[in-house]
């Protein structure tokens, strides 16, 4: 808490996100129990809060390899045991949820936490929730589009009259409780689809972008977002941007890569692109082209590169993947909070434009 650090200034916000991976350990072949995993997640939130990070966010999945299908409930538990950290999602799969219920739940978390809740809505990278909740994949685009618009109506109005195509109408519906904050922050998370950046711009919401490798491909996406925002009458300069992706920090560059690769490779076996694991050469190539794995100094440089290329106000790193052990996550988190974050805050506070 040096004099150069002021939460109200333009220094960058820093945080973490996790999906609550529940993957079997490659050596033991056993996944952690849901109880142990959720307990560990809540401890992670306490650690991140104590360490002074700005945000923790949880991803919603409906698969056996992730423990979080109800991030609202987990965030509610986190709200009760943390004091400063903001509580968000990454992402809330809004397409298959009822926006009214989502808003009520997050307004409740916001009340419990004294104004620390946020929602990050997205389409998600998986589609299991469609059959689970009775939605048609053919409505993939329209569901998200309709529901994000409704969610923004609920954010802005206590009494809502609304008509759509895929959800019953609302007639002067009272939405209660209202959030503790004046306005509940609603972000849109995008994975690189141009149409998603246009939507975020047109709706005037802050936008989060995730990257597997470097942020350079995001330049055009940010440009598109700003152009779409301006065309809809929003001031692009006032709209917040965030970026993120996988992160792992270890004291030394080489050991960071050596320690992380086996777990990263194992993580990808559950996805189509590297069903047989990620070869080390590919991994090293990803690290060279921007995957945030390395020593504190390397990670500082890479996050500042996100800031420089995209103008982001916030960086959130996915601190857990696959079967990575809790001790590695804790050590990485400690370096993030104690060695990376202070430098980035100082650097970005200095470079912020004078008010």
């Amino acid at each position: 808490m040096g004099p150069s650090y002021d939460r109200e200034s333009q220094d960058m916000e820093l945080g973490i996100y996790t999906f609550g991976d529940l993957k079997a350990h490659p050596l033991t072949g056993k996944p952690e129990s849901a109880h142990a995993r959720l307990t560990r997640l809540i401890e992670l939130a306490k650690s991140a809060d104590r360490a002074g990070l700005d945000i923790i966010a949880l991803g919603e999945h409906h698969r056996k390899d992730y423990v979080i299908s109800a991030p609202e409930v987990v965030l509610g538990a986190m709200a009760a045991v943390t004091s400063r950290i903001r509580l968000s999602t990454a992402v809330t799969v809004l397409s298959t949820q009822d926006p009214v219920r989502v808003f009520q739940q997050f307004a409740t978390i916001d009340q419990i936490s004294g104004g620390r809740a946020e929602i990050m809505a997205g389409r998600g990278a998986f589609v299991e929730s469609f059959p689970l909740f009775g939605y048609n994949l053919d409505d993939y685009e329209e569901l998200f589009d309709e529901k994000i618009r409704l969610l923004l109506e609920l954010r802005d109005n206590e009494v809502v009259t609304w008509r759509g195509r895929l959800r019953p109408s609302l007639e002067a519906a009272l939405i209660s409780p209202r959030p503790f904050q004046g306005q509940l922050p609603v972000w849109i998370g995008v994975g690189g689809t141009p149409q998603s950046a246009v939507r975020a711009g047109v709706l005037g919401t802050p936008m989060f972008m995730s990257f597997f490798q470097g942020p350079d491909s995001g330049r055009r996406l940010v440009d598109l977002y700003h152009r779409a925002a301006a065309s809809a009458g929003h001031d692009p300069g006032s709209m917040k941007l965030a970026s993120g992706g996988h992160i792992y920090i270890s004291p030394k560059s080489q050991t960071a890569r050596d320690e992380y690769h086996p777990y990263y490779s194992d993580y990808f076996t559950q996805l189509p692109q590297f069903a047989r694991g990620m070869p080390r050469e590919v991994f090293d190539q990803w690290v060279r082209s921007g995957l945030i794995v390395g020593s504190p100094q390397e990670v500082i440089d890479k996050i500042l590169h996100h800031r420089e290329v995209l103008g982001v106000d916030r960086y959130v790193g996915q601190i857990e993947v696959g079967s990575i052990p809790g001790e590695m996550v804790d050590a990485s988190l400690e370096l993030f909070a104690n060695e990376v974050a202070p430098v980035i805050r100082r650097e970005t506070a200095v470079t912020a434009s004078p008010t």
């Binding site: 990278a125 998986f126 469609f130 141009p194 246009v198 490798q213 189509p272 692109q273 590297f274 070869p279």
Partner: protein, 223 residues
């Protein structure tokens, strides 16, 4: 001289998402006339095309099929039935399948699960008459965007190209080359199974020799 020849060729792209806009940018840079279409009216993607692929023309799928000599399918494979399959069948156009069966987003699709065929053979059967070629599917769109290099560049990467129509394969190989990648003739369309998700070649960013090694052995003969 070769670039003057190229500009006479029109490349059409169906899909204005992550992959489609990158391919439009590469094709425009290669000097082709490029038409790109999403699922609806051209105006809906005008801003996207202007920002993501300046120089390409926002179009409708109908215009793409009517005007392009080479049509690249860059939509999610789960949306294949929304593509103008009938028009593509009859047009005699060279059609490039750049799509993959990607269950996390497409959902579990029995037509691709319960078959020994490569996904492109399933696509071919949806548009009989089209001169189907498979390529651009096995390298990520970020890598396609950043790894394009002029012919002869030491760091140039390679893309596998397969088709049952040798003349169509030849045309697409030229397009791939012009867009910044070595094209490897990897044989018949059925060979496409060697660079689908789950294979070593899929997701790799490899040069010619390295990719050839990943594709071995090729056993299916062109019919």
């Amino acid at each position: 001289m070769s670039s003057e020849e190229r500009i006479e060729r029109t490349i059409g792209i169906l899909g204005a998402g992550k992959l489609g806009t990158v391919l439009a940018r590469l094709a425009t840079a290669a000097g082709f006339r490029v038409l790109i279409a999403g699922s609806g009216a051209a105006e809906r993607i005008a801003l996207i095309v202007e920002v993501m692929a300046p120089g390409a023309t926002a179009s409708t799928a109908h215009e793409v099929v009517a005007e392009a000599e080479v049509v690249i399918l860059a939509a999610p494979l789960g949306k294949v039935h929304a593509l103008p399959t009938t028009a593509l069948s009859g047009a005699g156009a060279v059609v490039v399948d750049a799509m993959n069966y990607w269950w996390p987003v497409d959902g579990i699709l029995p037509v691709f699960e319960e078959t020994e065929l490569s996904s492109s053979e399933v696509v071919r059967d949806l548009m009989p008459g089209a001169r189907l070629v498979k390529t651009f599917n096995h390298m990520g769109y970020h890598e396609l965007d950043s790894e394009a290099r002029p012919a002869g560049h030491p760091d140039r990467k390679a893309l596998a190209v397969v088709s049952d129509d040798p003349a169509a394969l030849e045309i697409v190989a030229e397009v791939v080359d012009a867009m910044g990648f070595d094209a490897i003739d990897a044989g018949a369309l059925a060979e496409g199974i060697r660079f689908e998700p789950g294979t070593t070649a899929f997701g790799a960013t490899a040069g010619r020799a390295e990719l050839l090694a990943m594709l071995e052995p090729m056993t299916v003969q062109r019919s």
